[in-house]
Subunit: 198 residues, 2 copies
């Protein structure tokens, strides 16, 4: 019996991972991605820096992984059986994502930071935007298969519409999310895409 972790198979304790993830979000809110440091995250999580490097090879990979692990699953929508239902679920899920208490302030910082460091912005788009859009495309392809959308629907523009109005309304304009705004956005998207059911 030994108390040492076997060197060839590091055991990652889930509660340590959780503490680190929380610390990453808190540091992102306090300092922004530019000034976040491995030291700061480790200190806030109450762990050594080695605990971070055991999980991620670099600061940038750590931040991207933490943000993607929160963001990508939130774009996964259960098939409701209709395009209207799927779009409604999508715009609601997008709203939950961009107003997520952990994520809301981080997103605006990431975008501003992206203007200064395009390579960092490209990493965010690859790690978060790309996989999230694949979920949107899957939703749209289901609707094409059901005959609810024309086969040549503009997938890229449609995916933009699934997110852009809520971001503009809530984050740029800081407007209220009226009870029926998501309903109105849903109907607008159905019309915009030329849905047969609108």
């Amino acid at each position: 019996m030994t108390r040492r972790t076997p060197s060839g198979a590091a055991v990652l304790q889930p509660e340590v991972t959780t503490a680190i993830v929380d610390a990453v979000f808190d540091e992102l809110v306090d300092k922004g991605v530019g000034r976040l440091s491995m030291e700061g995250v480790a200190a806030r999580a109450g762990v050594g820096k080695s605990a971070l490097y055991r999980r991620w090879p670099s600061k940038d990979k750590m931040v991207m992984a933490v943000l993607a692990d929160l963001s990508v699953p939130l774009a996964e929508i259960t098939d409701t059986g209709s395009l209207r239902g799927d779009v409604r679920a999508t715009v609601e899920a997008v709203t939950g994502w961009i107003t997520h208490p952990k994520f809301r302030r981080v997103l605006a910082d990431l975008i501003a930071e992206g203007e200064r460091h395009p390579e960092r912005a490209a990493a965010v788009v690859d790690a978060i935007g790309g996989p999230r859009r694949e979920h949107a495309f899957a939703t749209l392809r289901r609707a094409i298969d059901r005959g609810e959308l024309p086969a040549d629907v503009d997938l890229e523009l449609a995916a933009d519409l699934f997110a852009a109005p809520m971001y503009w309304r809530m984050i740029v304009r800081r407007g209220p999310v009226e009870d029926d705004y998501l309903d109105r956005v849903t109907e607008m998207i159905l019309r915009a895409l030329g849905a047969t059911t609108c």
Copy 2:
């Protein structure tokens, strides 16, 4: 004859105003709205702080005025005679605004800053968003008068659509502005609004 400016009627030299406005934008890009100072702007413009206070009563009022003077006129669209033409001109003008060399990085910072200081964000929305939207509403009302849009068209949602897709595409996703993207957005908006001419 005296060389002193009459105290009751300060003469504001236009070339000084231009130098100050340029300095405000440069400071906004370098430091962000949070760390911009009257001292920094004055030094960069090569004028005394009194030249700033002669024009604006405070830092916040100065920044808002400078941003609004750039942003609001850019939302003014010449009546093209048709909704399709007006929407195409609007989405092109929005694109020019959010990618304006002086403004692009400032906008992302303003939004991020707005998450930290809601009262500052509200001032931006009042000084820029409100007047810009009035121009959008005027465009939409012209279309209603021409019979191109239903009288009960959702003006608020329509105004969001005039800007949101381009912001999402270019600033959040950092995607390319394909030659035909604005054409596709225009047709999408016409369908979304239930235009009689789409």
